[in-house]
Amino acid sequence: MQRNSLKAFAVGAVGCLALGLLPGCGGESSTTTSPDSASDATANPAAGTSATGTGTLVIRANGEDFVREGFTTKDGWAIEFDHVYVSLSEITAAQTDPPFDPDAGTDLQAKAEVRVEGTQVVDLAEGDESAEPVVVSEVEAPAGRFNALAWRMVPAETGPSEDHTIWMQGTATKAGETVPFTLKLTEELAFTCGDFVGDERKGVLAAGDVADLEATFHFDHLFGDGDAPADDSLNTGALGFDPFAALARNGVVDLDSAALQAGLSETDYTTFLSILPSLGHVGEGHCREVRLTTL
């Protein structure tokens, strides 16, 4: 009898032991989970999620002071822009949670989004030094925190920059020589960006209120900045204006993408193509370019 009782105890104990050990195993193979804050954040409109009501979201495009005021390139050319047309399409503003990180390789997870219909062409050189960044569109949008912005650059359907995505027109002066230039690009680009980084925060939209978002273009990445040190990575990675000036005919630079491919050295053309995906920003915040970089 005593032996049978021991057997019963042993059989039951094995089952219970298996049951008891497993939670311990589960604890050791811990899984990655979102912290409590992630779920709590969804209840907080300021933290990037939808609130009740709607407001007006103003989408702007900004070529910064480089475009409106002119600047000196890394190789000493004083650039003045008359026009910088950019053709923007599929402009989408989104409230994301978690916040979108363009450098992380993760997808943008929109809780709410609004889109500007059609293709918009704006002149980034419009206005003087004190001008506000040019308005691309105004859309009614759900209140909340718009912390992501995406857009495509497609050929303009009409207007002075028709058939081109970026059209830069101005003058470049160096050592008393002034060269009128027009750079007409057809490369298509697509940018997906995170939160605006700058002097002020943007995209915080309260019901009945107005908030800005901004697509920012860093043309100093293409030409370099004479005010920055020569060994600054901005300048070491920039093309400057000399390669374009070398392609002038009768003192005028008038080049489209095909002429650039044909005229620039292989190294310079590769550099040129590598710079285009870095033009798009949100203030100082980065964007992920997915069109040209995947060709």
């Binding site: 049978n4 057997k7 019963a8 059989v11 039951g12 094995v14 089952g15 219970c16 298996a18 049951l19 497993l22 939670p23 195993c25 589960g26 604890g27 193979s29 811990s30 899984t31 990655t32 989970t33 979102s34 912290p35 409590d36 804050s37 992630a38 709590d40 954040a41 907080n44 300021a46 933290a47 990037g48 949670d97 978690p98 916040p99 990180d101 363009p102 450098d103 992380a104 993760t106 925190r145 995170g194 939160d195 980084v197 700058g198 925060r201 915080v204 990575s233 901005l234 203030g283 100082e284 915040g285 980065h286």
Partner: protein, 163 residues
Amino acid sequence: MKFKFALAWALGAASLGGPVLAHGVVLEHRQLSSVEVAAQFETGEPMANAQVLVYAPDNPSEPWQQGNTDDQGRFSFVPDTTLVGNWEVMVRQAGHGAIATIPIGAATGGEATNLALEAEAEPSPESLISPSTTLSPVQRGITIGSVIWGFIGTALFFARGKR
């Protein structure tokens, strides 16, 4: 230009140490949860003396705290853990900047946990790893099978009767 943020989040129970009296001097200490941000350019150069703006979850428009990184590009702050949600740290210098988002939940207490996170910009919420208290489907199946096996074994034992 891209940045790298290294975040170290020392999460511990806020505690107040008892006063130490020595010749009329009173010292008290508190152990607090702190977040340390290390910002550097992608070249590896620290973003020294860069502007830092810390935004609390309840007000993304106005900085909760401002400061500058040190010579090594580091900046630390002690968040108010009653403000649950995504804290944001914006680091800017010479026309370049980035934001790190740090999800902070309710204070958990217990032993200190060190999280060394490194990312090019923002760590995702999944970067915070917490032990799971739930079982995987395989573990759940084994558990259920073990219980059933235990009951069957016990029942068969008593069903044998006396020989």
